[in-house]
Symmetry: C2
Subunit: 177 residues, 2 copies
Amino acid sequence: MAETGKIAAPQGPIHRAIPEGDNRERLLCRDCGFIHYQNPKIVVGAVVTWREEFLLCRRAIEPRRGYWTMPAGYLELNEGASAGAMREAWEEARARIAVDGLLAIYDVPRLSQIQLIYRAHLDAPEFAPGEESLEVRLYGWDEIPWTELAFPSVHWGLKHHRESAATGDFAARSQTF
Amino acid sequence: MAETGKIAAPQGPIHRAIPEGDNRERLLCRDCGFIHYQNPKIVVGAVVTWREEFLLCRRAIEPRRGYWTMPAGYLELNEGASAGAMREAWEEARARIAVDGLLAIYDVPRLSQIQLIYRAHLDAPEFAPGEESLEVRLYGWDEIPWTELAFPSVHWGLKHHRESAATGDFAARSQTF
């Protein structure tokens, strides 16, 4: 509590405590009482192909600036998951993608993420770097810069896509990492 | 800003504005500058069977107090999705469930929810109401109280489970509602 004549700046939800009726520590603000419930986040993305090639973006931002990724990012409020994957492809690669189905669900509790990765294709090889990309290009399977991929899920997505195409089994994978 | 000698209570993140470098309105606190990024939430749950019967819980809490649901709730930070479904079955139905696989992903943008619903079974018909349940019981398919189910996803889950059992196709469904 601030003393009269000496106003302390509010600190925001930085204090750990268990709210009444709850059974876990949450972050709360001692000034206004706001409880900041933190929840796992949903990442949506797509393995995007043009004929036999894969669309990858070289990241212009941290983390992993300079490394290659598929278009992906956080799902927004009131956004359908495949619509979110389409938005990310537009934002990062200026690509209009057609979504063919759900490729995989990656459950990554270490990062508190559920990733929904779609299979998608381009109807024309039209793309360009968005604000978060340095470069966008198509790679044949044997050209993919495996050692310069930004995140493990880029590996997983590309490999699951390859498996689906090889086996004809397009059922969504579900895997915990 | 509070005047000297007259301290206004902080209000918490209730003001809508677009933070610098962002492109959407977020809720922020004018007192401490905290930005409350709201994200869609992940619900985890399970259609749980004992032999040919389905485990349902009558809710002791709002919303939909008195109506029947499968065990389900919000995924916690750093929790695997199937582990979350097991925790919810314990909390709501004092049931130790064995998870057999992912039954379905329900994408509900209207509610900003992604629901991951598992197929699970009991190894023994042992259960009891947890704090959030008035009653827990097993229902044969023809006894299910269809008009007293708490949420549409309880219908969807039960029907998808029935379809999987009938067709032998246990690939996870992916559907937007």
